[in-house]
Subunit: 446 residues, 2 copies
């Protein structure tokens, strides 16, 4: 049997490796458009921050290793352009400009996501960048190292934008962040979002909300970015306004797409074509809290979905529980974490959400070094169920959110969660863990 | 109605405060043997470590505040010696040597636990200490500050012993730790216990296992401690061999005690006498993993049980889910955490335990600053259920354990836990959280 994978990053290589481990006699071919497979895309901002690190540090395993040690036919520089589900073929063009066509018995579409490029004039000017692929990362790093970059405009204020902001500030580059909509981290409780905003501003970053990008122009050696009611000059412009699923190849082949144009998959990661799977950022997922489809492109679920596809291709019947929307990022000295739904998302999903926000200490009473830690927790008034939690703090937020994530998987009520036996020692938190304090407060309002 | 509480620390003051908040017209009296109420006992080693901090920093709220702001009749220096369940009275002696007798409608026994004092000659010598009450802490700190203490022998190697070892090393005092039984942290996977042992030894601490304490003698200005096949001299000896529940007053009144001689309570914290509750370190608890009674004296469950008693005294019907045995401690630069059962405990409880131990990174591939992190995870071969997890690491162990704790509350299978959507960002962990990697490995053996 021939298992063909389009896309050689998290989902694709996880699937290829595991399928080959499951069934060593399986023929596995991976078609990767770029020359890079299996790299830590999330690590790029941290790598860019450090002039002494090579971007190739982020490669987890080279194509050569997959080929020689694992017996996977990894074809880099192979751009898959079309799928013919009737003939069971994938066709495309390779880096030498030659057409290829390959037959599959089972196909995995793991084409990932692409950076959204604002539809404005000037996005093709030199020095206007986006960050998604390792090649993008190399391009940005080379630009920073070969040009006199003193100031960068970042369009967007999501977590990639914030991670890149931090990376550039570590390189002592001035940063202005601009977004079209009002509100900084609008999915977060306003008080908590203000804490994050203060942290960013305290690192001399200028934040401009409510300014839509209109065009980018050359201005001597620099770039001029024109926004509504705002014009800025800089040496580089980074567009970080989000990503979109690479689902075009699937849609063109008649494969069903759904939410956010991601490829629609069932719990076994099967698309509307029984021989074709999809996994990773190009595919949708079930949200365990809403019970509905969602599209949240993150690394863990891509890897996990890749494994599930491999098992199912090899005759297994792995059914994905779904995700609960857990995410974390670091911005300067703050940890920002979330799991489940924000209040607005909960309302939109038909819940009757009630939220509390608490501030407590990261360490026990009188323990030195304690800092503030904030928790927002949301429950459903109708059912009493826990539906979301968000945390911000200088320590103790990133890993703590996992307790809420597991509770969301278990569909716990706030009351049940408030009874959980969480760890306590003075260096690590108050007796009542911040999540428990939030749950206790939330119980009073439910 | 008169609600009387014996014991003014975590469980007792939590109960008294909440009962008074629930029902402001309730008469609440607290009988506390010492002069201290409501203090952070767990913070004592960290306070002792720091010559510049006053021990009274650990007092969370003074008796005066409870009296004046909350209207609770806190009687410090009142040693309750006997309960007469038929007459519904508590009698005792106060710090002025006067007898007292007080009538209750509902009584809470929250007498806590005491340090176990080894039954050997010489434990009453000056410089021979134990640490449980704030008064013990003051005594140790005063001794360290007024005597030329260059070397301390700690009897015991549990977490209080290890926290005190760290505190003394921070004061540049030499430490020898001695225990009678073999094995360092025997409840932990041997490889992981070795990691902790190496950390302690790398701080110039001598560890001597398998030497039973026989006697302590004066030796000039110093103390001589005689163990089986080992004699040591030091300036101070600290006994840290564990604690025992202060259940004598209950047992003498005919109230049923059970496991580890702790007071036997139902899920509503009621003792065998319908008017008498018990909570905190003097009482037992239900273990959610085994479904049986257990005695694990820790601060969170004491506070929580105090609240439950208050609600039930005020006409509520709070039923405690129980505990899962979550605990964490810091020793030098290591975080050591556990939740649920060790392999041996699981066998003893009738499970068919299977364990794996994995070592992975505390941060993502190629992220700077990553250190090793170890996870042991145990599942039940018969049911597939997750029954325990242990973690050791320089970062990321303390708060991560809570994810396992919540999973234990939810009675998740290892398979379900392996599907949970845990947080990922490069500074905080690998894509597959260490707990997920452990769960994935464990699944292969189940």
């Amino acid at each position: 049997m021939h298992f063909v994978v389009i896309g050689g990053d998290a989902a694709g290589m996880s699937a290829a490796s595991r399928a080959k481990r499951n069934k060593p006699d399986l023929t596995v071919t991976v078609l990767e458009r770029s020359m890079d497979v299996s790299y830590s895309a999330c690590g790029m901002p941290y790598n860019i921050a450090d002039p002494d690190r090579d971007m190739d540090d982020l490669v987890v395993r080279h194509a050569k290793v997959f080929r020689e040690k694992q017996g996977i036919d990894v074809l880099t520089g192979h751009y898959a352009r079309a799928i013919d589900p009737a003939a069971k073929t994938v066709s495309g063009i390779n880096s030498e400009g030659k057409n290829f066509e390959i037959h599959y018995d089972r196909l995995l579409i793991a084409t990932g996501a692409s950076a959204i490029i604002p539809d404005i004039p000037g996005m093709d000017l030199p020095g206007v960048m986006a960050l998604k692929s390792l090649e993008d990362g190399r391009k940005i790093k080379t630009f920073l190292e070969t040009k006199p970059v003193r100031k960068v405009i970042i369009i967007g204020m999501g977590y990639i934008a914030l991670e890149m902001c931090e990376a550039l500030r570590y390189r002592n580059i001035n940063v202005v962040m601009v977004k079209s909509r009002p509100g900084f981290l609008p999915w977060m409780d306003e008080d908590m979002a203000h804490v994050v905003q203060d942290e960013v501003q305290s690192h001399d970053v200028r934040l401009c909300t409510g300014h839509a990008a209109e065009r980018i122009e050359l201005s001597g050696d620099r770039l001029k970015a024109v926004f509504s009611f705002l014009t800025l000059e800089a040496d580089m412009v980074l567009a970080a306004v989000g990503v979109k699923p690479n689902s075009g190849i699937a849609a063109n082949a008649g494969i069903k797409t759904g939410i956010s144009h991601a490829i629609d998959v069932d719990r076994g990661l099967r698309t509307s074509d029984k021989n074709i799977f999809a996994a990773g950022d190009c595919a949708d997922a079930f949200h365990l809290v809403t019970g509905r489809k969602t599209w949240i492109p993150l690394a863990l679920r891509a890897n996990r979905a890749g494994w599930a596809v491999a098992d199912n291709v090899c005759g297994g019947n792995v059914q994905s529980d779904g995700i609960v929307g857990t995410a974390v990022f670091k911005v300067f000295d703050l940890e920002v974490a979330r799991s489940g739904l924000s209040t607005a998302e909960a309302s939109a999903a038909g819940f009757d959400p009630v939220s509390v926000t608490i501030k407590t200490n990261s360490r026990a009473h009188a323990h030195p070094g304690a800092t503030d830690i904030w928790v927002q927790m949301t429950g459903d008034k109708k059912s009493g169920r826990l539906i979301g939690a968000q945390m911000v703090g200088r320590e103790g937020a990133a890993h703590r959110i996992n307790a809420a994530a597991v509770a969301l998987h278990a569909r716990m009520s706030v009351e049940q969660f408030a009874q959980t036996d969480l760890a306590y020692a003075p260096p690590f938190g108050p007796v009542w863990d911040p999540l428990l304090t939030a749950a206790n407060q939330l119980l009073k309002k439910l």
